[in-house]
Symmetry: C2
């Protein structure tokens, strides 16, 4: 058994603190470390202030074996981080000829004027290993102090990722004895987190100490992830299969993927095509389905029928149906689903109509949606209440429609 | 003049450290505090570990006046955070009847079974002010200790935002003497950040020390925010008007709003209607326009023509045009825009067709999109290259189409 290796991330930059930038780097780095079996213990963000950066370095080094620092190294950074790190590790800035040539070459290629701040990127502490930045001008730096490793990286996401992947992660694997960590993920839809947890409580209790179950809620469903540390692959697989059999009907994928991708695979496999008639979601269901590469192989398109005129003239909903049952009714979505299926020559037509919020109208109608799903033989209608505000109700309506489409395909094909 | 107020954010949850979740809450909270003139000094993320949470509380309380804690309060959270906070502030958990009724009501409405973990949400420390959570079952909590304020909030973004906006921020304003901070925001589209910065360099240099200009890049444009600290409203307004006049054509709003809302206001004001024929964006443009309350007053809907069959049969694009010029051409989007305008009886039709990525095909086609915008008298076509991956290219294509729609309306009405 290996001992636990703790890591910290320090992110530097005022733009993170005033909320101009969302920090996506930390999540990505967390994933990479987690895959290596290194525990990311803390993530800290501080501004472009010497005192705050120094304090963060001391605090994190006191509890982690590996400290990854991002940001503060670009040509327009206020020149705080690099000299500070150089000083912290008792080094001096010296020119690195290889980096300088690389910087000059980049500017020649881009045909841009070069300024002193760019050439200064080649001045590096003489106490670090340089981590080569193929994608930009600011190299990464690898420092060691009191048996702790510090890695400084530029904050631009694709430069940071490139240096991590090709330079830092291989060195980390070499330097630390990491445990054997494996993950297996199941995606479910249609059941809330607390109810799901109650239904697999016994399974969770039965897990050995080196296998953990994580609940990862998403809109309309929950992802479940089993993580094994220093465990045999067959043992983890056994628990994984047990978990799957405990959740009939609600598992839409046995690996990590969005539901629109799982539906795409189903449609392709069963050689079906689909089209959408959307009222309240305004095109959001079509947009989700077509966000997947290759969706033109099974999605013909759709009609956004935001007015009754479009429902009548393009989808062929009888005016009488709208008058008698209203736009938000089983009867209307039945006509819409069959209309779009016929008009766009698809095996399956899905329709949706609803009130995502009530501007004027009855409180009882708030959040009411109707979904219709039709093939040549049958039409299924589903109603649901969306309990949130307009934006989130729209997202939840899309997720609900997609999950019901998945169920319809499973039931009928 | 007021003294500086420092804040820290502590985010709790293993899912943040293993990289499952990208932390968007912190950026949003940072923006809100910044708007109040409170300086967010540090952001820290820790896992679901008692020792780590306690250490973070102590460390942040040592340097900040306001500590905002998010996460760890949901029904399946490992029951660490709430008892820990209760203990940290020397209180006891007692049942809050009002919260309990609210939880029961939520489950009745959603017609879902309720379990003990849900009811336990109503157990709250007797040493906090409850911050009402209208949107969910986990309330926020407001604690005071040694003249420092601690606010604990659930991690679900829309619940957190709702509690912050309606409960926490008003109390923060009351509790702290914040500086007199005023913001004025301009939204621009169609010009990149560096080019925009160069064009208003003189203006930026002319600003007095107590007025700052911030660039807030968004996809397809940049928001510019003037922030005045302890400055007269008329003075700030003067600089704001000067800034607007320096940016003719690219300002789409003189307050903070998404471009789809600005377009909706334009369409309503000029009594126009619009419809969309979308290929590559798959319904995303319709979905953006209809995300605005009241959009049924100017948006008739659209047709998602993901196949040539739909382009020909529903939009009336001549098969010959597709054959001769291809799906992605000025000729095809012209026919699509006029087709959807006529078919959906709108004043304006907008169409889009493009390659968001190249699976098979020529590298030169990568990211090429064509946009068509037509009214009865005229049709305008625009082409552009989207430089990113499929997902981001789709978002940028939507933003580009919307900005061109805005320009078309300004030029023709």
């Amino acid at each position: 058994m290996s001992t636990q290796i703790n890591a910290s991330i320090i992110t530097i930059g005022d733009e993170l603190l005033i909320g101009q930038t969302i920090d996506t780097n930390s999540a990505w780095i967390g994933q990479q470390l987690n895959a290596l079996g290194i525990w990311l213990k803390r993530r800290v963000a501080v501004g472009d202030s010497k005192a705050d950066i120094l304090q963060a370095l001391d605090q994190e080094a006191a509890q982690s074996d590996l400290i990854i620092i991002t940001g503060g190294l670009g040509p327009t950074a206020d020149d705080i981080t690099k000299p500070l790190l150089c000083n912290y590790f008792n080094g001096q800035l010296v020119e690195n000829q290889k980096v300088k040539n690389h910087v000059l070459q980049i500017f020649r290629k881009r045909n841009r004027p070069i300024i002193d701040a760019n050439i200064a990127q080649a001045m590096l502490p003489n106490v670090c290993d340089v981590l080569w930045n193929e994608m930009g001008t600011a190299p990464g730096m690898w420092f060691a102090k009191n048996n702790k490793i510090f890695i400084a990286l530029p904050g631009v996401p694709f430069e940071m990722k490139h240096i991590m992947t090709h330079e830092a992660l291989p060195k980390i694997k070499e330097r630390f004895t990491t445990p054997n960590v494996m993950h297996k993920t199941i995606c479910t839809a249609g059941i809330g987190e607390s109810f799901l947890a109650a239904s697999i409580q016994d399974f969770e209790t039965s897990l050995p100490a080196n296998i953990k179950l994580a609940y990862l809620p998403q809109l309309g469903g929950v992802k479940l992830r089993l993580t094994g540390r220093d465990v045999a692959a067959a043992t983890l697989e056994n628990y994984f299969q047990t978990l799957i059999t405990q959740l009939p009907h609600i598992v839409y994928a046995t690996e990590d993927m969005p539901i629109e991708k799982a539906i795409g695979k189903l449609l392709l496999e069963k050689k079906l095509t689909v089209s959408f008639a959307e009222s309240c979601t305004g095109g959001g269901i079509s947009a989700a389905i077509t966000s997947i590469t290759g969706s033109s192989g099974y999605c013909n398109g759709g009609i956004v029928s935001y007015t009754n005129d479009v429902k009548i003239n393009l989808l062929g909903v009888p005016a009488e149906t709208l008058k008698q049952f209203s736009e938000v009714s089983a009867q209307t979505v039945t006509a819409m689903a069959n209309g779009v299926r016929t008009k766009l020559k698809s095996t399956i037509g899905l329709s949706i109509s609803g009130y995502l919020e009530v501007v004027k109208g009855k409180e009882s109608e708030k959040g009411l949606i109707w979904i219709g799903i039709a093939n040549e033989q049958t039409t299924k209608t589903i109603s649901a209440i969306m309990p949130y505000d307009r934006e989130r109700n729209c997202e939840l309506a899309i997720a609900t429609a997609l999950n019901n489409l998945r169920i319809f395909i499973s039931e009928n094909y």
